[in-house]
């Protein structure tokens, strides 16, 4: 039986919204730690970049609040008026899941429902400890959702959810790097210059790569390595290379199951071919910011191609 177009769209966006909520939670967690552990309070700069990474800078500025932990953490986690907040992402995820109940197992549905229930009646994230507990809850339940998806039959439904998640993850990692790149390559300093170690750790923490870094690079923190890890290293699941590979795998599996192939497949394969030839030092030389902006744009075009190919409505 062929999947409904509306169902396909809902599953894809379910994947995107849960991934977005999870990423935002990681970012808030990493920023809280940065704030807490730093010798000088990281304060405004750290929280400003957290807003920027999640495309929330203008929206927050419009609220007129000061950029500091309490208001920004609340804005990113619990603010119903902010469409990009975690609670709003989970509301969207749940609405999409509800619309396609019959495509999900009980485990998958209850995982989404549990994610959303975490926020029922929460007004404020509270202080650091309380905020950490909240975002850790999101991350744990998001892992539960991922687990439930992996235990479902490998069919169009799970493939679409994972496809949406991979597209979202690629966008998140690229954006994270793009916003923080000025930390990695400060103007006027040569590559390899002195950079705030804590800021780097925030980046690595957000993509769960702190330990991975140490295993892959036997030297201390260096900007070129961080860029290499997050763009080119497919071993790291949140790297651009890994996301690009995952997208191709899922589109191939979807093509096998549904017989549907087209422009999205072509774009995804072209992208992975280019990625396999990409070297971090070349990206740095030709312009990290330009590379990432182009990647983000192309990712958005691929998202649109997927919607057309599967006739989303």
């Amino acid at each position: 039986m062929r999947m409904l177009s509306r169902t396909a769209a809902a599953l894809y966006w379910l994947g995107r919204y849960v991934e977005r909520a999870d990423f935002t939670a990681r970012l808030v967690e990493a920023t809280v730690r940065l704030d807490a552990l730093s010798a000088r309070p990281a304060g405004e700069a750290a929280w400003a970049s957290a807003l920027s990474v999640t495309y929330n800078d203008d929206a927050f500025a419009a609220t007129g609040q000061s950029i500091s932990q309490q208001p920004v953490a609340r804005f990113l986690t619990l603010d119903m008026a902010n469409p990009g907040s975690i609670v709003r992402c989970l509301e969207q995820a749940r609405n999409n899941a509800r619309a396609v109940r019959t495509s999900l197992t009980r485990e998958a549905w209850t995982a989404v429902n549990r994610l959303w229930l975490l926020f029922a009646n929460r007004q404020s994230p509270g202080g650091s400890a309380s905020t950490l507990a909240l975002v850790e809850g999101v991350m744990a339940e998001a892992r539960g959702f991922e687990g439930a998806i992996h235990r479902m039959m490998r069919n169009e439904a799970t493939l679409l959810i994972q496809l949406g998640a991979a597209i979202e993850r690629a966008d998140n990692t690229a954006r994270l790097l793009d916003v923080k790149y000025h930390l990695l390559l400060p103007a006027g300093e040569a590559v390899g210059g002195v950079v705030d170690r804590d800021q780097w750790t925030t980046i690595l923490q957000t993509v769960s790569a702190v330990t991975a870094y140490r295993w892959i690079y036997s030297e201390g923190l260096k900007p070129a390595n961080v860029i290499d890890l997050l763009i080119c290293r497919a071993e790291l699941p949140r790297s651009l290379a890994a996301c690009v590979e995952e997208v191709v795998e899922q589109l191939n599996a979807l093509a096998k199951r549904t017989g549907l192939q087209g422009e999205a497949d072509r774009m995804a394969r072209a992208r992975i071919a280019r990625m396999q030839k990409t070297r971090a030092h070349e990206v740095i030389v030709s312009g990290l910011h330009e590379y990432l902006q182009a990647f983000i744009r192309e990712n958005a075009l691929l998202d649109a191609a997927i919607a057309r190919q599967f006739r989303f409505i």
Partner: protein, 491 residues
């Protein structure tokens, strides 16, 4: 009107100390399981329902958050012979309902022979001239009926209401049984209970049996069947998705369907797929803006043309509201007799039709004793329960009755049966009603061995509707002695 005189289905008339002999074991279980344990199990069931999202929204509720319907862990039990007799009455009634619908939208013999006043049907807003002359596949109109019953004694069942449009509650019947098996497995060792989990299979076979035949199907021989829901904002959405799930068929919304050249298609990622049978949970009014309400955004334009052309089967058929109607209900004994040739095995509750002057006078004189209902009401709204109403409420109804007598019927306040129910202060009898589900396909009429038991949770209350605070219980139908228990498959 108190619970003192009512028949308790487990305790009989003698109270907890002297239960009905057939239920000694169950009464024992109730008495010996500690209150705290019963509470705990109930809370566990409700937590599961909440996690599963088996909720509903009450329209007009300012706190429009989702509610679960309270579940009571003490089941009611039908003995095999009681159930057999009840089933025969249900089958006879549903066959008559189908014959009636075919007749009023067809030859109208029942009007010609003066059994029912013509204006009651032809002037009735529930009568849909738009479907007159349509002959649905196999002449079946009411594929799924929920017949609401009350009980006043071991073998005294009365039909309260027929539901032939979109009877709901099946998902609660199935989920309650799952909860009971999980929480009280000991009861299933003591009692041989008929399984209800075949409902999905039976319904799917019913749907397939009424597919337009001799048409080219999209997937070889299996007709394409779908459940059509208005969407996940609808208060009964959980049930719609549950039904599609248990039957293994697609759940569609109006936006997914498109009608082209009088054929209904659903929009899939691979393009259009022809649809053969639609279990539609959208009211007639909203079903097709080209035929019924033109302002409906919930409909599928052209679906009625496809139906009329015989290219798609709709269950239940549009136009069934005329059989649901409370004014027609009062003629059901005559209707059953007309089509079956015999007296109705299941009696109606005595009903006074207020459009008749004698009946109206009787009702006005006895307002504090009767239940008055709107002919076109539902959900327990617009109802007067005389014995528990205030003077002001009674006077309001008196005025309404005098102003528009044709809009009302009245029935005596029955001493509904009770079943022991978990309350704050321990187990106590609470009034219940019952809705079994009867399925009709080209393969015959089947009564599902179980149903939805609704319980009025407030002491002495007779209002069981979920939208007004009622709860539900599981309903056991016992297998005949000597039969093996059928297994319930966990999903």
């Amino acid at each position: 009107m108190g619970t003192r005189r009512a028949f308790d289905e487990i305790w009989g008339h003698g109270g907890p100390e002297r239960p009905r002999p057939e239920f000694a074991e169950l009464a024992d279980w109730i008495a010996s399981t500690p209150q705290a344990e019963l509470h705990k199990r109930q809370q566990s069931a409700e937590a599961t329902f909440r996690q599963l999202g088996i909720t509903f929204a009450v329209y007009g509720d300012s706190d429009a958050s989702e509610r679960i319907i309270p579940f009571d862990i003490v089941p009611r039990v039908f003995l095999h012979d009681e159930w057999e007799r009840l089933s025969q009455g249900l089958v006879q009634r549903v066959e008559a309902i189908n014959a009636f619908l075919e007749d009023v939208y067809g030859e109208r013999r029942i009007l010609d022979e003066g059994i029912v006043p013509p204006e009651l049907i032809l002037n009735n807003p529930q009568f849909r001239p738009e479907v007159a002359g349509i002959r649905p596949p196999h002449g079946i109109w009411a594929h799924i009926c929920g017949i609401d019953l009350v009980r006043t004694g071991p073998d005294e069942f009365w039909v309260l209401e027929d539901n032939a449009r979109t009877p709901s509650g099946v998902s609660y019947m199935l989920e309650n049984r799952e909860a009971m098996i999980r929480l009280c497995p000991e009861l299933f060792r003591s009692f041989r209970v008929a399984a209800v989990d075949s409902y999905g299979d039976i319904l799917r076979e019913t749907m397939r049996s009424v597919a337009p035949d001799a048409r080219a199907n999209s997937y070889g021989n299996q007709p394409v069947c779908v459940v059509l829901t208005p969407g996940h904002f609808n208060s009964a959405y959980y049930e719609h998705s549950f039904l599609a799930d248990t039957m293994g068929i697609e759940l569609v919304e109006p936006a997914d369907l498109i009608v082209d050249d009088d054929v209904v298609y659903m929009q899939t990622i691979a393009g259009r797929v022809k649809v053969d049978v639609i279990y539609r949970r959208i009211d007639d009014d909203f079903l097709d803006p080209l035929v019924f309400r033109p302002d409906s955004l919930l409909g599928v334009p052209g679906i009625m043309a496809a139906y009329r052309a015989g290219n798609v089967a709709l269950i239940n058929a549009p136009g069934n509201g005329i059989a649901d109607d409370k004014a027609i209900y009062s003629y059901m004994p005559e209707i059953v007799k007309f089509y079956s040739g015999s007296e109705a095995k299941l009696p109606n509750v005595e009903t006074w039709r207020c459009r008749e002057p004698d009946a109206l006078n009787y009702v006005l004189d006895h307002l504090d004793e009767v239940v008055v209902k709107l002919v076109d009401g539902s959900g327990g709204y617009g109802m007067l329960v005389g014995p528990t109403a205030s003077k002001a409420e009674i006077e309001d109804f008196r005025r309404a009755l005098i102003a528009e007598p044709h809009r009302y019927i009245a029935q005596p306040t029955l001493a509904l049966s009770t079943v022991p129910t978990v309350t704050e202060t321990g187990l106590a009898p609470r009034h219940v009603d019952f809705r079994p589900f009867v399925l009709t396909g080209s393969n015959g009429v089947q009564v599902v061995p179980g149903g939805l038991t609704r319980v009025a949770l407030k002491e002495g209350s007779l209002v069981v509707n979920s939208s007004q605070g009622g709860g539900t219980k599981d309903s056991f139908v016992l297998l005949p002695e000597g039969r093996q228990t059928q297994s319930q498959v966990q999903s």
